[in-house]
């Protein structure tokens, strides 16, 4: 088996895309936005009369926006609900290369914690290695160049020039 065969096999076995129903995607998002708006509405009640400037207080603007957002989201959700009930789905939403994207998301989410625990340079070295691999940078020379080049750039530009304490 040649290297080309192995690569072709790897390419075939790679999960290329995931499709989600756009109606359910819309509905989940609408629910999240309604939840967020309701949280703002509840918290607005804690803003008392001491924040009044005339008839308007600190809660007026967020409450108005939250109510308009809830109404807009309901208007957006209605056609999706209708399509679900009528079994008439629209074009699904495609997430291409989900493994790379999810890995990327996880690496970004973990980075602040890793940086706080180990410091910038060790955390960034590991992060760049795994992120590079997730982003399809497989040649050792490219990967090594990416890590060393980026860390050097961070040290010169951010630490030395901008004075960022890394």
């Amino acid at each position: 088996m040649t290297v080309r065969d192995v690569m072709q096999k790897e390419n075939k076995s790679r999960l290329d895309s995931v499709r989600l129903s756009s109606e359910w995607y819309d509905l989940i998002f609408c629910l999240l936005l309604i939840g967020m708006s309701v949280w703002f509405l509840i918290k607005s009640r804690e803003l008392g009369a001491e924040t009044n400037t005339g008839a308007i207080n600190a809660a007026t603007f967020p409450v108005t926006i939250a109510i308009i957002l809830i109404i807009s989201v309901i208007i957006l959700a209605l056609p999706s609900m209708k399509r679900i009930l009528q079994h008439n789905p629209a074009q699904p939403i495609t997430f291409r290369q989900p493994v790379s994207v999810v890995l990327g998301l996880v690496l970004f989410a973990v980075f602040p914690i890793a940086m706080k625990t180990f410091g910038y340079y060790p955390a960034a070295t590991v992060w760049l290695l795994f992120f590079g691999l997730a982003a399809g940078v497989r040649k050792p020379l490219q990967l090594g160049g990416l890590i060393i080049g980026f860390l050097l750039f961070a040290w010169v530009v951010f630490q030395k020039f901008l004075g960022t304490p890394l």
Partner: protein
């Protein structure tokens, strides 16, 4: 200040080695961002803002503006070479530029793109210099009611940014307005919705910006990292001759005027400018039916307009403090970081800023043309950088940029949050631009609303009895509901 004195002030502000260096750097970076498909000017500017922390206001703003301008300038190169526009506006350039390449006229197409972009920008800079301070003087008479209405108009124009998804864009805008209320209330000083001590001063703008524009794009790049690259094997010969433009003087002038004035309208942007200019050139041309098959006039019409619109977009930003696009919203962020307030007072208090921007644009255009004409070999190499490496570098700079803004890991978390939000929102056709416009204009809207209400003794009529405010509100309502009305009319026609 009269224009001549202003320009002299501008020239004296930029004529130092340090500023000239940043002019060159801005153009180079803008070219890089524009030539690389997938990177946009707004993304490049968001990533570059952290680098301006240690800089003076003049070189910082000049560098950001030139990144914006050069990115649009260079976007025609990949559109012609590989049919992958570097910026959305250059998609129109590809209509004729790419067929010209396939017909073996790559050198001519690139020369036309670069020279017509330069002429278009130059004409638009003249318009900008002539109109910006006039607009600012007019806006000096504005009070809180007018500013509130102006912010409403700016936000209502998101329907123009929505590319057919008006309701979704409105939801994006409302999301931005709602999260903007986190932090200290601008009128009473009370804490609002602060669930973490580092949110006391509100959602940090720069990390949010980097997340929405740069990080969300990184996730999109990750979706494409295994796509086969589009290699460019031959290096086209570019003559740099202006003689190619000789048959199209009317198209150049028309494109520049259309581009500038469409650019001035907040929300319209360079994509609409190049489309309108292309459409009008097609109608006016005797060979209109050959547009889309490699007609050089199509390249000229698109490139003049989309580059002229960049100068147009700077006019309301500098004169009124109203960003008309994602890129100009980022420029507002850049100005704020430097402690400057965009708007009419900028011309009075810091005239060196707008005028140094004008003069740097004038000085930058020949540099852009030279870089375009003689650096084509380099820009071809740029288009072939693997997406995986670009994604890793952009991701790494996003993290560093967010951290450098406050030296706190918490802001990296904010960037990651907005990156994920931007990515998931884009999947449901909600563009990040309305969210950023809301973050910029929301404070202006709420603060001036409350000021106006205080001044009027809580009488809402203040927004209607002031004529400028009334006109702005009427335009806002028309702009906001026009797409719905058009949809309704189309639906009725289909039904009939």
């Amino acid at each position: 200040m009269d224009i001549l004195t202003g320009m002299m002030t501008g020239f004296s502000a930029i004529l130092s080695l340090k500023v000239l260096f940043f002019i060159f750097i801005g153009i180079l970076l803008g070219y890089f961002v524009g030539a690389l498909p997938g990177l946009t000017s707004s993304m490049g500017m968001a990533l570059l803002i952290p680098f301006t922390f240690a800089m003076d206001a003049v070189p910082a703003m000049i560098m950001l503006v030139l990144i914006y301008s050069a990115a649009d300038y260079a976007a025609g190169i990949p559109a012609i070479l590989v049919n992958a526009p570097g910026q959305p506006a250059a998609a129109v350039t590809a209509f004729d530029g790419y067929p010209m390449r396939r017909q073996g006229e790559t050198g001519k197409a690139l020369t036309l793109s670069i020279t017509s972009s330069g002429i278009g920008s130059l004409i638009a800079v003249i318009f900008l210099i002539a109109t910006a301070e006039v607009m600012a003087d007019f806006a000096l008479a504005f009070g809180p009611a007018e500013y509130f209405s102006l912010a409403v108009l700016g936000l209502s124009l998101i329907s123009a940014l929505s590319m057919g998804f008006v309701l979704r864009s409105i939801i994006g805008m409302l999301f931005g307005l709602l999260i903007l209320t986190i932090g200290i209330d601008p009128a009473s000083g009370a804490e609002r919705f602060v669930f973490h001590i580092e949110l006391l001063e509100g959602i940090p703008f720069l990390p949010a910006l980097i997340g929405l524009f740069a990080l969300s794009e990184v996730f999109y790049m990750l979706e494409e990292v295994f796509d086969p690259p589009k290699p460019v094997e031959d290096i086209p010969k570019i003559t740099g001759s202006f003689s190619y433009l000789r048959p199209y003087p009317k198209t150049v002038l028309r494109g520049s005027v259309i581009g500038y004035f469409i650019g001035v309208i907040p929300g319209a942007g360079s994509s609409i400018a190049s489309l309108v200019s292309y459409g009008m050139a097609k109608r006016a041309s005797k060979k209109g039916d050959t547009f889309g098959t490699g007609n050089p006039e199509g390249v000229v019409a698109s490139e003049t307009a989309n580059n002229a619109s960049v100068c147009g977009a700077l006019a309301p930003l500098l004169a009124l403090g109203i960003p008309g696009s994602a890129s100009t919203a980022i420029l507002i962020g850049g100005l704020t970081i430097q402690g400057l307030q965009p708007g009419p007072l900028l011309f009075q208090n810091n005239p060196e800023i707008p005028y140094s921007i004008f003069t740097s644009l004038v000085l930058g255009i020949p540099i852009m043309m030279i870089l375009g004409l003689f650096g084509v070999r380099m820009w071809i190499k740029v288009t072939s950088i693997p997406k995986g490496i670009v994604a890793s570098v952009v991701g790494g700079i996003s993290i560093l940029g967010a951290y450098a803004s406050t030296n706190s890991e918490f802001t990296i978390g904010i960037t990651v949050f907005f990156g994920i939000v931007g990515y998931l929102f884009r999947k449901m056709d909600i563009n990040p631009a309305p969210i950023v416009l809301a973050l910029v204009l929301g404070v202006m809207m709420e603060t001036n609303f409350r000021r106006a209400m205080l001044m009027s003794g809580d009488d809402l009529m203040i927004f209607v009895i002031k004529p400028i405010s009334l006109v702005l509100l009427v335009i806002s309502v028309i702009v906001l509901f026009l797409p719905f009305l058009q949809k309704l009319i189309r639906w009725k026609k289909v039904k009939q």
